[in-house]
């Protein structure tokens, strides 16, 4: 099985990185999260209601929507912030990429590492710009806002193609498909990977290798 892969390439100022990545990943996660499942008996379950929250960006002309879940937001922000620090750090080359990977687990047959199969990967490749003055920042603020608007529209387009999603599991297998650790939302299992510097360019090859292994 091949994972669907979407790659966004963006150039922006360092301080815009966190918000830009968060806007893309939160929009994806909003579409890839459900209300909490509540089992009433074997085979019967009800699905909770998903709340949403508007987020205004400070450094980009953009408002995006995320699930109303503090824990999910903190989790995502923490990872993005680590990537951002690495990317913007003195040792960084100003080039890097971060991926939001949805995966499902295979039921464990033996004692050992559980196999994770990615089914959708959203990658944001970033290149840092250094701007000279406030005028340039104003322009960039708006430009990145326009670019992210395009990305949000693209994300919704992909989401409405109604392509492969893992099947709804039984209660016992819920944890193989969904991340049940949040009290308010139930996103599909996901993880974030990031690289910065020279290795960023070769990571596609690595991803391919991983995929081949996964197959």
């Amino acid at each position: 099985m091949n994972a669907r892969t979407q790659i966004f390439e963006l150039a922006m100022e360092g301080r815009q990185v966190d918000e830009a990545v968060a806007s893309i990943f939160h929009t994806v996660l909003f579409h890839r999260s459900l209300g909490k499942f509540f089992y009433t008996g074997e085979g019967n379950y009800s699905v909770g209601t998903l709340g949403y929250t508007d987020v205004d960006c400070d450094f980009i002309d953009l408002t995006y929507v995320c699930c109303t879940s503090r824990a999910l937001d903190l989790n995502l922000r923490r990872e993005i912030s680590c990537f951002s620090e690495q990317l913007r750090g003195n040792e960084g080359t100003g080039i890097g990429q971060i991926s939001l990977e949805f995966f499902q687990k295979k039921p464990a047959k033996w004692f050992g590492q559980q196999e994770c199969i990615p089914w959708e990967v959203w990658t944001v490749r970033l290149e840092l710009l250094s701007l000279q003055n406030e005028d340039e920042r104003l322009v960039c603020r708006e430009k990145v806002g326009d670019l992210l608007t395009e990305k949000v529209l693209y994300i919704t387009e992909v989401m409405n193609r109604h392509e492969y999603l893992p099947k709804m599991p039984n209660q016992s297998e819920l944890g193989l498909i969904f991340d049940t650790s949040y009290v308010d939302v139930q996103p599909y299992l996901f993880k974030l990977n990031y690289v910065s510097g020279q290795s960023a360019s070769s990571s596609i090859t690595n991803t391919m290798k991983k995929l081949i292994k996964a197959m």
Partner: protein
């Protein structure tokens, strides 16, 4: 493959479509209220929480949508349009965008499970709608609305969208579509891109648009930002213009232009010349004479000189200022604040920095700031001056030759130039 949709499925599908329409209208209108929205997750879904998404039901919007639906089967009456427009305090009106939920009966997929698949996809479509409503231009406008500028209005109707009201070059974005057994449901938005409309370009709403055009140029946040940029640029240009002006001046053969404007500058330059310096004994007297001669008709100079030392030590400041200003032309900015009234300071800065004219600049400064003031500030009372006059006259007579020499030198000086 010709599977007929069951009556139950048809009933469910109509019901889902109706609630999709109702919730879509809520999402669109609520996103234009001008405030950030936040709804809470719920463990247990209640009756109004359709599609597992926490979308509030505003009673007004619900009533408007239901009025438009008119109690009929929604899927048979689509498209449903939600039109978002802007109304100014003056009553001007402009349509910003038109959201449309339509159906294409030809594209149907009878195999799709209504109760599960279609319902879930409608949930995803609504999430997409929530996301997309935040990124169209009208969202930013709606966040800036206010009772004293403009408000955002909505209109819900069941017919094909009236796209001509969006002006030329409007954009269309498809939010998403769902294939169902009765056709493909499509949700899309068309939005205005040109906030500036020329009156000739729009046909039907000419009178209104003409006014809206005037108003909305200032309203679009993008326009506002451009405007700010322009203002910034303008102010930058102004500062730069001074620089450019100064540069241009520097290229001109300035000495010829300046010297006639400055009375006695020649005299002062004479005083500085090496020949004059040699006659050290007479120099103070010459200065005194000149000061006396100048005293009557140089009121401007006096005022200027006073201004020059304003904020410094009034009496002794001159002696300090003179060498400082004269010797260090690069410090001109330090003196600028103390004599703001001196336009001449600004005018001559360009020369001061250029090599060829630096001496002229020095002389000019020296003249401008100092000698007369020192003398004037120490004028003795008249009673002291009167007996002194006889002595002075005697002294002048004895020093007649010196003055003759000086006059001679003055007469020759233009030729030297």
């Amino acid at each position: 493959m010709a599977m007929k949709i069951s009556a139950q499925d048809k009933k469910d599908l109509d019901k889902f479509t109706k609630f999709l329409a109702l919730k879509s209208a809520q999402v669109i209108v609520q996103s234009r209220l001008g405030e950030k929205k936040s709804t809470q997750c719920k463990m247990h879904t209640t009756g109004t929480d359709w599609f597992n998404l926490a979308i509030e039901d505003l009673p007004d919007v619900l009533a408007e949508t239901k009025k438009a639906l008119n109690g009929e089967i929604v899927s048979a009456r689509l498209p449903l349009c939600v039109e978002i427009s802007l109304r100014t305090v003056e009553g001007d009106h402009m349509v910003l965008e038109s959201w449309c939920l339509g159906i294409v009966p030809e594209q149907c997929d009878p195999s799709v499970r209504v109760t599960h698949t279609v319902y879930n996809r409608m949930g995803i479509l609504l999430k997409s709608l929530v996301s997309v409503t935040r990124v169209t231009p009208a969202y930013k406008l709606s966040r800036r609305q206010g009772p004293d500028s403009y408000i955002i209005c909505y209109r819900i109707y069941m017919e094909e969208p009236q796209l001509h009201t969006l002006g030329d070059g409007y954009k269309q974005v498809r939010v998403g579509q769902i294939c169902t057994p009765i056709g493909t449901l499509q949700l899309s938005v068309s939005y205005r891109t040109k906030m500036t409309i020329s009156p000739t370009n729009n046909g039907k709403d000419n009178s209104i648009m003409l006014k809206s055009d005037h108003f909305n140029t200032n309203l679009s946040p993008r326009q506002m930002r451009y405007k700010q940029n322009e203002e910034n640029n303008a102010s930058l240009n102004n500062t730069m213009r001074i620089g450019a002006f100064a540069d241009a001046k520097r290229k001109l053969p300035e000495p010829e232009m300046i010297i006639p404007c400055v009375p006695f500058s020649k005299l002062l330059s004479m005083r500085k010349s090496p020949e004059q310096k040699a006659e050290n004994d007479d120099r103070t007297e010459v200065e005194e004479l000149m000061a006396a001669a100048v005293a009557d008709d140089s009121s401007t100079l006096e005022v200027d000189a006073d201004v020059a030392v304003k904020g410094k030590d009034d009496k002794n400041g001159n002696a300090k200022d003179r060498p400082y200003l004269g010797a260090l032309p690069t410090h001109r900015f330090t003196m600028t604040p103390t004599n703001d009234d001196f336009i001449m300071v600004d005018l001559k800065t360009p020369f001061a920095t250029s090599n060829g004219n630096s001496e002229l600049g020095k002389i000019y400064r020296e003249w401008q700031t100092a000698p007369p003031l020192k003398t004037f500030s120490e004028i003795p009372p008249l009673s002291d001056q009167v007996p002194d006059l006889t002595k002075q006259l005697e002294r002048y007579e004895t020093a007649m030759k010196t003055y003759d020499d000086m006059v001679q030198a003055l007469c020759e000086s233009p030729n030297n130039n």
